[in-house]
């Protein structure tokens, strides 16, 4: 947090400085830091800066939400565009902290599926919660569905799930036989009932992505739900780990603009440029997360082999469930989140 704040302060002074000296347009872009943001710098930010002839200043926050809340409360935000879970764009928009997007200014998003857009946000990159397993334990006959994950007789072994209801409840319902296209609105009671069933067999309810990777790498668990990028990173390091996109849960972070952003007009131009199919197609070259704009797969920049590894490629997307941000930010979704802690503790 302290780092974030000081970064924010540096950014402010930079903004003040450049506003006073240069006439070139610039924006402040915020993402979650680490390898993920570095990959974006090369894949998206630098090309966009070159395309538009603007300067893209960067800041990072593991959780942008509280910072956006504080910045907009002061009435003088210093951030322009943020890359954040879609849910925060939507609830931020409803609470007057996020600008409504004028899609006529964002033609690159026109052909994107409606489910990838909200009035406040546009899908930026995709990741997936997948079923991962230890190949040494299961060979090539690893669990392929959530019903397999719940089947402790055919697939004995230790298990881990994320300590969060999102995607976990969807998995429980699929395991219980709910068809993928009938998941939403989620049957919360049924999901918790099914989760009670697997609870005694869950060794760890993980909280951070790093933790989920460590559990797989050290063989602490034989199977778990984890984010595809984390699993493939573990596999790259040589651990005997496999995963399937079958019944995976497709999720995306979105771009949205902070309400009252200091460089609003440039920010809108930036969002449009960042959705350019050719620029979006750079994502797979740097990181295992998929482009938000499906048109990127038609540019020819992404090889067939690479596309097969991407969570958002049309073939993989077809096997998966798109997590409904709308449901999760509805009162029922928030109620489910409140119930989660009680379920874990009891």
């Amino acid at each position: 947090m302290r780092v974030t704040l000081s970064l924010a302060m540096i950014t402010t002074s930079l903004v003040a400085f450049s506003a006073g000296t240069a006439s070139a347009e610039q924006i402040t872009f915020v993402s979650q830091g680490g390898a993920y943001q570095e990959a974006q710098t090369k894949a998206i930010l630098d090309p966009v800066a070159k395309l538009l002839g603007i300067t893209v200043d960067q800041d990072s926050a593991p959780d942008a939400w509280p910072v956006v809340k504080t910045q907009t409360a002061t009435g003088k935000p210093i951030w322009d565009v943020i890359d954040t879970p879609t849910k925060d764009c939507v609830r931020g928009g409803e609470q007057g902290m996020i600008e409504k997007l004028d899609f006529s200014q964002i033609p690159n998003a026109a052909s994107m599926p409606a489910a990838y857009k909200t009035p406040y946000s546009v899908a930026y990159e995709f990741y997936s919660s997948v079923l991962a397993f230890n190949k040494k334990k299961f060979g090539d006959k690893g669990p392929q569905t959530w019903a397999d994950f719940w089947d402790v007789k055919t697939f004995p072994g230790t298990r881990a799930l994320r300590n969060h209801p999102l995607a976990t409840m969807e998995a429980a319902l699929l395991a219980d036989g709910v068809p993928a296209d009938k998941l939403y609105p989620l049957d919360v009671d049924r999901a918790f009932k099914k989760l009670e069933e697997i609870k005694p067999h869950v060794t760890v309810w993980w909280t951070s992505g790093a933790q989920s990777a460590q559990l797989l790498a050290d063989g602490e668990v034989d199977m778990e739900m984890a984010w595809n990028g984390r699993v493939s990173a573990v596999a790259k390091e040589g651990a005997p780990v496999g995963f399937t996109y079958n019944q995976g849960f497709l999720q995306f972070t979105s771009l949205c603009i902070v309400k009252g952003a200091p460089n609003l007009a440039t920010a809108v131009k930036f969002v449009n440029a960042a959705m350019t199919p050719e620029i979006q197609a750079n994502f797979p070259a740097y990181i295992d997360y998929g482009p938000g704009n499906p048109a990127a797969y038609a540019t020819g920049k992404i090889s067939k082999e690479r596309a097969a590894q991407m969570p958002s490629s049309p073939e993989n997307a077809a096997k998966q469930v798109l997590v409904s941000t709308e449901w999760w930010s509805s009162p029922a979704g928030e109620e489910a989140q409140k119930r989660w802690a009680a379920f874990i503790q009891k």
Partner: protein
């Protein structure tokens, strides 16, 4: 003596008081700015919602089981950790206090050394030791003691072990400070009057060392109440302490007040603990003033 006449000793006294206040001013203003003001802000936030007054953030203590379970688990862990650090720390402090200067320095260095390693690193170290395919389970199964790996981590047990490790110095140091000040002549006198070593320890040394024990217990207990990283990494998701409730509420209720109210209640618990402890031992002694 009339009040108008100048009393040199009195004038001196008031000058000294002014000087003390002046010297204190920088430190006081830092405390006020960095502690008192934010604390008042915290209280203010805990009774606000949508720009109005509310007790909703406190009302959740009454009807949300999660709150009670989190406090219950936190206090249970704090009790176990405190008891364990007393049992483990007392002999170490006793040995350090009764040894030559060099030996006691060595013992204290060994106690304090891990203290300088990051809590995060130590949590991961415990993970490597305690997990299913970790060193402890590996050694035990190699020796044929166990068939199936023991579940030593990703639960409350693992959390407690790592917390004990982190907080042991906070027990040993006040114990050592107290024991060092116990005149050895007293135990010698006890022995010369015919007391067995055990008898002398129980009747003379132990009672005199109790202020140190209480000081260490209060420190360890209170510090455990605020633990976050350790239970988060080693608790396997099931260990749910109050600090985690605070962070969950920020995400869940989207209101600082929902988190502030928990912090305030926890703070009141800490005050209550200090008050109880000060009934046993004066507060200055707990804080190690004498």
């Amino acid at each position: 003596m009339s009040s108008t006449s100048i009393d040199p000793s009195r004038a001196h006294e008031s000058r000294e008081r002014r000087l003390t206040l002046m010297l204190l001013a920088p430190a006081l203003s830092v405390v006020v700015a960095l502690l008192v003001v934010p604390l008042c802000w915290l209280v203010w936030q805990s009774v606000r919602q949508d720009g109005g007054f509310t007790l909703a953030h406190y009302a959740r203590f009454l009807h949300d089981d999660v709150y009670w379970m989190a406090f219950l688990q936190t206090f249970r862990i704090a009790f176990v950790v405190t008891a364990a650090t007393v049992l483990l720390g007392y002999p170490v402090a006793y040995l350090a206090a009764g040894s030559s200067r060099r030996t006691s320095l060595l013992i204290l260095a060994m106690v304090v050394l891990p203290f300088w390693t990051s809590v995060l690193v130590r949590a991961y170290a415990w993970l490597i030791l305690l997990q299913r395919r970790g060193l402890v389970n590996g050694a035990l199964s190699d020796l044929g003691v166990i068939d199936h790996p023991l579940i030593l981590v990703n639960n409350e047990f693992g959390t407690v072990i790592a917390t004990i490790h982190i907080l042991l110095p906070f027990m040993v140091l006040p114990l050592y400070a107290t024991m060092q000040k116990i005149p050895r002549e007293l135990t010698m006198a006890g022995a010369s009057l015919g007391g067995t070593p055990l008898h002398v320890f129980l009747r003379v040394f132990l009672p005199l060392s109790l202020p140190g024990v209480v000081a260490g217990m209060v420190l360890v207990f209170v510090l455990t109440l605020g633990f976050y990283i350790t239970p988060e990494l080693l608790g396997g998701g099931r260990t749910y302490m109050v600090s985690m409730l605070v962070s969950r509420n920020i995400e869940l209720y989207n209101e600082w007040g929902a988190a502030s109210s928990i912090s305030i209640v926890l703070l009141l618990c800490v005050f209550a603990i200090f008050r109880l402890a000060s009934l046993l031992i004066p507060f200055e002694r707990i804080m190690g003033a004498r």
